[in-house]
Symmetry: C2
Subunit: 352 residues, 2 copies
């Protein structure tokens, strides 16, 4: 069933069928009804690829997840819980706006070509890049991408070195402020010896979270004990080992702010394995509001990015730019992060 068939059945031309489908104004109600009746009767759907070829948008958004150190045969997205949180929000928002969502994972070096490919094949109106590292944009041949690209978690300065920034918008979480919420929360609960578990330094978010920690501690006139800063690399196994070292060295902080939930969960497990009580002995604040943190016991106090807000904006920007190349879109937007207080922070009782 194609538009020509509908035209014949309705006694009009293909042009008119097309006008009805695209809801053009210059079609009298009578004609519109006549055509719609046939369309509905046969449940006709215009071929999406023909429409796009003839000049319509593909109404598809690409989402690309960059996964470093991927493990063959492992579930990559699941392993990065906040990736699925973004995906989830993007699918939800995009579907609501009538967009289809194309998902790709980039695990190997040669996978980077996929981003470019999806654009150049004209499959998508725009793309969203998640999991970006400092060197990612170079690998992607960003200058060949003509359409809109929205990048989550990327440094604006790095971007400005590139020629074509006008097609790119960065969406960041305000990680520094977020961490200050955590620091202040801990201080309110009487914590002074606050530690930090760091993420992968090649990501902007890891750097900003740590910077935010240092700044906020300073602002609150607390000193950072370098033995209380652990390199968790966003990885549960690494975080476990680092916490074990801290235990061995008897260098445990009152509490730890962690650059993601997984490291918090692993560190808590480690402390428990060696006889400590969480949160009584040591308190924890995570980052990302993962389901695992929500289900564990004690429920993890965590920082929660605005997944839906960022997803919505990303889709909106792509929509805007694909319909009007000259639309004015900011280079970077920063989103606030909320502190979600649950049960993993305990009051510190001052020992006199």
């Amino acid at each position: 069933m194609k538009s020509e068939d509908i035209a014949k059945l309705a006694g009009v031309s293909r042009s008119t069928v097309s006008r009805v489908i695209n809801d053009y104004s210059n079609v009298p109600d009578e004609t519109r009804r006549k055509v719609m009746k046939v369309i509905e009767e046969y449940d006709y759907r215009p071929n999406a690829f023909a429409r796009t070829l003839a000049g319509k948008k593909s109404e598809t958004i690409g989402v690309f997840f960059i996964i470093e150190n991927s493990i063959e045969g492992e579930l990559q997205l699941t392993y990065n819980d906040f990736y699925t949180a973004y995906l989830d929000a993007i699918v939800d928002v995009a579907n609501q706006k009538g967009y289809y969502v194309l998902v790709q994972t980039i695990c190997k070096e040669e996978d980077y070509a996929k981003v470019n490919k999806a654009f150049r094949e004209k499959r998508i109106d725009g793309g969203i890049l998640i999991g970006t590292r400092e060197d990612t944009l170079a690998k992607i041949e960003i200058d060949k991408i003509q359409d809109k690209l929205v990048i989550f978690d990327y440094e604006l300065n790095t971007l400005s070195y590139l020629a074509s920034t006008k097609n790119i918008t960065i969406l960041n979480s305000n990680d520094e402020v977020a961490i200050s919420f955590a620091v202040e929360h801990l201080i309110e609960r009487g914590h002074k010896h606050i530690g930090f578990i760091k993420g992968v330094e090649s990501t902007l978010s890891a750097r900003r979270r740590y910077d935010g920690f240092l700044k906020s501690m300073k602002l609150n006139l607390l000193t950072v004990n370098e033995n209380h800063v652990l390199n968790g690399e966003f990885d549960q196994n690494v975080a476990y080992k680092e916490m074990k070292k801290a235990i061995d060295n008897k260098m445990i902080a009152d509490s730890y702010i962690c650059a993601n939930d997984y490291m918090a969960i692993a560190a808590i497990e480690c402390l428990r394995d060696y006889g400590y009580n969480v949160p009584k002995d040591v308190s924890f604040v995570g980052f990302d509001n993962t389901r695992s943190g929500q289900l564990m016991s004690p429920k993890l106090t965590t920082l929660t990015p605005d997944f839906f807000g960022m997803a919505k904006k990303a889709v909106e920007i792509i929509h805007l730019k694909s319909n009007d190349e000259n639309a004015n879109v900011p280079d970077m937007i920063e989103y606030k992060v909320d502190l979600l207080i649950r049960d993993s922070v305990e009051n510190v009782i001052e020992v006199q």
Copy 2:
């Protein structure tokens, strides 16, 4: 840049360019090289939509997640951890085979039309349906779908009522056998009073998991205490409340097999909240091998479906069928489920 431009630059016709791109055999090496050189120089990619319109496959697979009782503003996929596990595996396998993956969530009644729409618009070569309930296929207007549809977790009997089964293949986990692994594992550890927390009865998997439990208990000459069977509805909150009731009634089993991990996690939390030790007092086996179960403490012993195996088969079937309508594909394939022994099952010490 289009094929005509490449043709001109290479001094050949568009036909030849097309032959090179599609790797046809009747092109001399010399010509092929000449054309490839230009293609690479300009990093030319054929317009996917034009290719498809001209007769090629869309090389896109649709994945549809049916989400019941969805909550506005909640992360739907994340909330169902095993959904993302399937998605993950599908994206991975599909990408490897050169397929794009289109993701849609079906939350509201009117969303069911999306499945049909994606097919009728010719956006996808085939689709995968996840989260199917008994009445799902009726809502989807399955008879209008001409292309291949793979359904996860669906009853073959229900299917045979439908006119067009030839386009459908069902991929199931062998839940009954899976549960028998769990029962036997518990028996080996000395458990006799084994309980069960049930899922949503309108899903095949929930029914089969419970049936499997009853059968396996019988086979092992153990009686099922109906007070030890809880209706968790696959939901953490419901499971928590049901476990609370059991505690109030002092009707707690030695151990519980749960139709999913989340209910196990919630039940464990409940028992702890009321002073019980898990696994010392009560043991647990979950289902789905979620990340939350892996990260919790004690690490959850669970049944793990073959996510990759099923994903791979689904993609392969769609590939096969979209290239040869008459390809013979089974109506249903059943996949084995593995028991993943971790730390949530303790030996029961016989009290003399």
